[in-house]
């Protein structure tokens, strides 16, 4: 789960990680008051769940409270389109007003889970402010890595090693070491999947601050963090993804696709997207209905797929183990009839109660073409796409 920068800052504050003075505003008037309180030059930052906001005017340096008010007014209520959002962008409902610092050096630090080591991995680099994936690609030697111990955590000497590798001034080593240790605690105690500080700054007077913070909480651990679960901002999600979340469906909207996919199981769902692509069309979505979906959830899944205007044809691929084909078929038929959906469907159904499921679909009078298996579905889809012609 993604959270906003101002929420991440609050978590960092709680764990003793130094951050610039900052407050969040929902109105331009509030922004002005905050800027006045902080004093001097401040930065106004749009609070959205997407990177790349700086490049599209989502982060602005201002010289007065009046200017802060003006910038806040121009951002609030708009939608920000960055290289990480879809074409419709994400809404700016809050802005953060933060003090500016006299920066001497910009560094990078992040923590993720390393699956192979089986522990949280701290990655640090002197190339702060840059796109870290690019750094990793072109100059991997500039990234310093240290894994924490699953049972002990990150020892102080490890944190000091990182501070030294970052080449911070002698006067800042102790504070940087503490900051890294505290960040590690943030990661572990909040069940994070990502803590990223880019940049971590050293000021002219050798103080250390987390200037920007990105924190993701692991969805599977939210059950034990009700306080963090409450930070969810559904408005930042694609509306269809938001609807899928509520129905407990794993759904990802894919930009520009025309084939809606309904599948059970994540691996098979990806394989189904792949054969769609091989058949000459882009998938409109990833959708895993899960193992034990009841009819209501199947109906909602179908409705979410056809609510996507880009969808011209639906590919259903079911290999039922725990799931039951007849229930899936009933769900599809009920939802298609309720919504008067006329999109053609290519359906492969195997496993538990497949025969019953296929019969329900065949008897429904809907526009359905059966396919025997994955390869067969690809062929049928290809023929059907030719029939539909070019995407409109």
């Amino acid at each position: 789960m993604n959270i906003h920068e101002y929420q991440a800052k609050a978590i960092l504050d709680k764990f003793g990680v130094p951050t610039p003075k900052a407050e969040v505003a929902s109105t331009a008037a509030e922004a002005k008051e905050i800027a006045l309180r902080i004093g001097g030059r401040v930065v106004v930052k749009a609070q959205v769940h997407a990177g790349g906001r700086g490049k599209v005017g989502g982060v602005k340096l201002v010289n007065s409270p009046e200017e802060a008010e003006e910038v806040a007014a121009s951002l609030l209520g708009t939608r920000l389109v960055t290289n990480q959002t879809g074409a419709s962008g994400v809404p700016v409902e809050k802005v953060m007003i933060a003090e500016t610092l006299d920066i001497k050096d910009e560094l990078y630090i992040s923590i993720v889970i390393d699956g192979v080591i089986g522990a949280p991995l701290v990655m640090a680099s002197t190339e702060g402010g840059m796109d870290i994936e690019e750094v990793a690609e072109s100059t991997p030697e500039k990234i310093f890595r240290v894994a924490g111990d699953p049972l002990i955590g990150l020892t102080t000497y490890h944190a000091r090693d990182i501070a030294l590798a970052l080449g911070v001034p002698a006067k800042s080593v102790r504070a940087t070491t503490k900051l890294i240790t505290d960040l590690y605690n943030v990661f572990v105690e909040n069940d994070c999947s990502l803590v990223e500080i880019n940049p971590l700054v050293i000021t002219e007077d050798d103080q250390v601050f987390a200037l920007d913070a990105k924190i993701n909480i692991e969805d599977d651990a939210l059950f034990r963090h009700p306080d963090l679960a409450a930070l969810r901002d559904p408005n930042q999600q694609d509306p269809l993804e938001q609807r899928a979340d509520k129905a407990d469906l794993a759904y990802v909207k894919l930009e520009g696709g025309r084939v809606g996919c309904m599948v059970n199981g994540a691996g098979l769902a990806m394989a189904t997207m792949d054969i769609t692509k091989a058949a000459g069309a882009d998938p409109a979505n990833f959708l895993d209905i899960g193992g034990s979906a009841d009819q209501a959830r199947i109906e909602e899944a179908f409705k979410i797929i056809i609510a996507d205007d880009d969808v011209e044809i639906i590919l259903v691929n079911l290999f039922a183990g725990i799931a039951r084909s007849d229930i899936v078929a009933q769900g599809i038929v009920a939802a298609a009839k309720e919504t008067n959906a006329s999109v053609p469907m290519v359906v492969a159904m195997r496993g538990t109660n497949a025969e019953e499921g296929i019969k329900i679909l065949a008897d429904s009078g809907l526009n359905i073409i059966g396919a025997p298996d994955l390869a067969g579905a690809a062929e049928v889809l290809k023929a059907k796409l030719l029939e539909l012609g070019e995407s409109n």
Binding site: D191, A221, A266, G267
Partner: protein
């Protein structure tokens, strides 16, 4: 022979709620020797009037000689169940439960590192050896067929797809192993490849990977050095965009190595028969085995 599970498997099932009970029944119908059921508060009762219930794994092992455990408890309790089974000395523990917090699995892996127990999962479909009717997990018994192809996969239903394709082309399986889709998991591709390479009954191997992580690359390295049996591989997620999690916690493109194309490249360089579409696994294996 087969690997991991066979005629000597004495199965203990932990967590007999709705899904656990359903799967325990399918397992028994298939012919697997289920000797114990563990569910707190049901001591003295019997599952389906036949299999004794116990409140603790230790007691169940002591009374029944169970050597293999399968876990269906809800995610918040999965770490505890795994550790309880490891402490009771089970040889093989299979955790089917989906949605176990990653940091719980981090602790589990550190805890079991020097213990003799082998863990498969979490978030996996489990293991099935058709010839000995040994099913530990949720792979449907009616789709498999005894034979000589070993199957190892990160995905559940895509494993079933591969099995169906093998059967369609007249090839049975020695053992099917679903290692699971979580970023931190017990038994890895490499572990299973080592077992298949040493197994007399396995003539060829199907490996099914997906986007995310670098496990397929590690498998490729291992195959290059140690595996002489033919391997057919498919990687799901060629069409997946970067940065979006595709259902499995581990299935997310976070850098170049996580791409399907990079994994395909590494496997091809190791001499693996990589199919461009997951629909071609069966046909390719048929071609390889002649």
């Amino acid at each position: 022979m087969a690997i991991l599970v066979g005629e000597n498997t004495r199965l203990l099932v932990q967590g007999l709620g709705r899904d656990g009970s359903f799967q325990a029944n399918r397992t028994r119908e298939y012919g697997t020797n289920m000797v114990a059921a563990v569910h707190p508060g049901r001591d003295g009762q019997k599952f389906e009037d036949e299999v004794p219930y116990f409140s603790t794994v230790a007691k169940a092992v002591e009374e029944t000689g169970a050597n293999t455990g399968v876990i269906f408890v809800p995610a918040p309790f999965a770490m505890d169940a795994i550790i309880e089974q490891v402490d009771a000395g089970l040889e093989l523990v299979v955790c089917i439960t989906e949605g176990v917090p990653v940091l719980d699995m981090v602790k589990v892996m550190a805890y079991i590192k020097d213990k003799p127990t082998r863990l498969i999962g979490s978030n996996c479909p489990g293991v099935l050896s058709p010839a000995s009717k040994a099913k530990v997990g949720i792979v449907p018994g009616n789709i498999v067929q005894p034979g000589n192809v070993g199957v190892v996969s990160r995905s559940g239903t895509l494993t079933y797809e591969a099995i169906a394709q093998l059967v369609q082309h007249g090839m049975g399986q020695s053992t099917c192993v679903g290692i699971g889709g979580d970023p931190v998991h017990g038994t890895t591709f490499t572990d299973v490849l080592e077992l298949f390479q040493a197994d007399d009954e396995t003539e060829a191997i199907v490996l099914i990977g997906e986007i995310g992580g670098i496990r397929e690359q590690l498998a490729a390295d291992y195959i290059k050095e140690h595996v002489t049996k033919p391997v057919v591989a498919a990687i799901a997620g060629n069409s997946a965009p970067a940065g979006k999690r595709m259902g499995h916690a581990g299935a997310i493109i976070t850098g170049k190595a996580a791409l399907a194309s990079e994994k395909n490249k590494a496997l091809e360089a190791a001499g693996v028969h990589v199919v461009e579409s997951p629909a071609l696994i069966g046909a390719k294996m048929k071609e390889v085995l002649g």
